[in-house]
């Protein structure tokens, strides 16, 4: 492991991307992820790598498409309205099975919304966002160090499965400073060659990057291949954290920033003798349905807490079904629920 640094979440994601061997970064400025862009602007050229401030979010994701197709590790980042603009390119990247990393430092929505932290893009990230039958791998960090770890992981998973991977964080995580230890940098030259990439058809048949097939049978096969890949990812890559769940009567389900806050709530509740645990999905797609289903068999309540009007709540209810009560507590508009307000909500469900 490398040196210990005090960095903002945005800077940690940028630095982790560089250490993961990201050779091309393209983005358009937007709050609250500007520090990420600025860290890349400063450091990528120093390393002889590509930084371009694109003319638009659409151009940035299209540049990612080109660089990913050319076989290098590449990333873009933005915040909610910017991610909406990128959906065209994201659908094409998914269809063409191109590996890349997309960071969404979510802000309050809909529309222009505000620059305060929110989790209101969960549906967009995990259920599609763009057109067509596709998924991204979606990783939801809850601390600054975890944002770094998951960014490194994102590049690995993207290459392994030839899939776009999204880091779904929020403005709080992006702006917050914490001490982190980042791993030593990966030399991009040491990464395995991508024999499918458009690197020049010398001594081989041309490589073609495509996200379409005109013939319905061929397009069906492309979709079947994607679905098969998604099943493999679901079997192998589900990640989640359980905290104090062994003897819990109530489990809080929460991801990202609010997942971390709910850890404090668990400790506060336990200090008062209330048996509460936390279930925190780390992969938001694929969602940890089975682990949550198992957990729901030992508790009477699974309380979903989100910084949204209740989006992950739908996945919680799919996992829990009728095995336990599934109340919801959340805030919108960029308001972060306090531990005290969540604890008060927990107390309503004590039996």
């Amino acid at each position: 492991m490398g040196e210990r640094l005090l960095l903002r979440g945005n800077e940690v994601i940028a630095e982790a991307a560089i250490r993961a061997g990201c050779q091309c970064y393209f983005a358009y400025p937007i709050t609250p992820q500007a520090e990420l862009l600025e860290h890349m602007a400063l450091n990528m050229p120093r390393l002889g790598r590509t930084f371009i401030q694109a003319e638009s979010e659409i151009a940035a994701i299209s540049m990612v498409y080109g660089a990913a197709g050319a076989g290098v590790r590449t990333m873009t980042s933005s915040s909610s309205p910017g991610i909406s603009l990128k959906q065209e390119g994201i659908s094409y990247l998914a269809g063409a099975s191109l590996p890349c990393v997309i960071v969404n430092i979510v802000r309050g929505g809909p529309g222009l919304g505000n620059i305060a932290p929110s989790q209101c893009d969960y549906f967009q990230a995990t259920k599609g966002g763009g057109h067509g039958d596709y998924h991204l791998i979606v990783l939801g960090p809850s601390t600054v160090p975890e944002a770094g770890e998951l960014t490194m992981l994102a590049f690995e998973l993207a290459d392994q499965y030839r899939i776009p991977v999204m880091i779904l964080a929020d403005g709080l995580l992006g702006q917050m400073m914490e001490p982190v230890e980042l791993p030593d940098p990966i030399d991009p030259a040491s990464l395995p060659a991508k024999d499918w990439a458009t690197t020049g058809a010398k001594g081989r048949a041309p490589n073609i990057i495509l996200s379409f097939e005109m013939d319905p049978d061929d397009l069906k096969q492309m979709n079947l291949d994607l679905q098969s890949k998604y099943r493999t990812i679901t079997e192998n890559e589900i990640r989640y954290e359980e905290y104090e769940t062994e003897d819990a009567d109530i489990v809080i389900a929460a991801h990202g920033t609010i997942g971390r806050i709910c850890k404090s709530v668990v400790r506060m509740a336990r200090a008062e003798g209330i048996k509460v645990g936390l279930f925190r999905p780390i992969t938001l797609w694929p969602y940890p349905y089975e682990p949550l289903k198992r957990l729901s068999q030992q508790v009477h309540t699974v309380l979903t807490v989100e910084m949204s009007a209740g989006q992950m709540w739908e996945d919680v209810r799919l996992a829990v079904a009728e095995r336990a009560a599934t109340p919801f507590f959340g805030e919108t508009g960029g308001i972060v629920p306090t531990p005290r307000s969540i604890l008060n909500e927990v107390k309503k469900h004590v039996r």
Binding site: I58, A59, S62, G66, A70, T198, A201, I208
Partner: protein
């Protein structure tokens, strides 16, 4: 007979850089000529093994089938941004985009202008036939005033739909581009001149001189409701009055 054949000199053959796949273009359309020209230029410069072509959305969506080069098929209008990504990732590659007027000069306006303004070391082949061919003959940004299309059934009325956009002239106002030219293919002389222009555009990229744009006035007999011969005459006599031929920028 065989002795005679041996003595014959081959003066015309399929470019080595093209595959054997048959074009999907309509009879009389100039896309086939342009594809051949690009194939010949790749042969002459010996670059097919390090070239990546960008296939757009539109009639030339299948252009990845024609070249023995790597290709990326990309979203409508985004070719210049994708080309930027490829070229920045691997500067040793020769990257060209092949785009129609709707792709390059309408939905891709921002990407087209800003790649040129950055002076990306890429080559853009911009095929201007003043119509949307694949979707059924709708108005293009380059459609002439009074020209009938399926979305301007009474003819393009500039009070409603504006004027044909001279995109290459707009690009030519920028400081970065190395070469901007407009060419046509309505007779042999112009086919030869277009070939020279395309070769220069690729040559500049090979030499690292920066962004080049070759606009080529093309035909669409199917949607123009004209014969191929009428179409060529229309380009020569009418279209070139709105879109004058010649070099706009040459900083080589």
């Amino acid at each position: 007979m065989s002795a005679n054949l041996e003595n014959m000199v081959k003066v015309f053959e399929r470019p080595q850089s093209l595959t054997d796949a048959r074009f999907t273009y309509c009879p009389g359309c100039h896309h086939g000529i342009i594809t051949r020209i690009i194939g010949n230029v790749m042969d002459e410069l010996g670059i097919v093994e390090r070239t990546v072509g960008i296939a757009p959305v539109g009639c030339s969506v299948f252009s990845y089938l024609w070249y023995k080069a790597d290709s990326q098929q990309v979203p409508h209008g985004r070719a210049c941004a994708v080309a930027t990504g490829i070229k920045r990732a691997r500067p040793e590659l020769i990257v060209f985009s092949y785009q129609g007027d709707g792709d390059f000069a309408s939905i891709g306006t921002a990407e087209s202008i800003h790649a040129a303004n950055r002076g990306e070391n890429i080559t853009v082949i911009f095929v201007n036939n003043q119509i949307y061919g694949m979707t059924g003959g709708e108005m293009a940004p380059t459609t002439l005033v009074d020209q009938k299309t399926t979305t301007t059934p009474e003819g393009r009325d500039p009070r409603v739909a504006g004027y044909p956009i001279r995109f290459s002239e707009m690009i030519a106002t920028l400081d970065a581009p190395a070469y901007v030219t407009r060419q046509a293919l309505f007779d042999t002389k112009h086919i030869m001149e277009t070939t020279k222009a395309v070769k220069k555009a690729f040559q500049y990229q090979v030499e690292g001189k920066g962004y080049s744009l070759v606009e080529i006035l093309s035909t669409c007999p199917t949607n123009w409701r004209m014969s191929p011969v009428q179409s060529n005459t229309h380009v020569a006599e009418t279209v070139t009055k709105v879109f004058p031929l010649g070099d706009l920028v040459d900083r080589g």
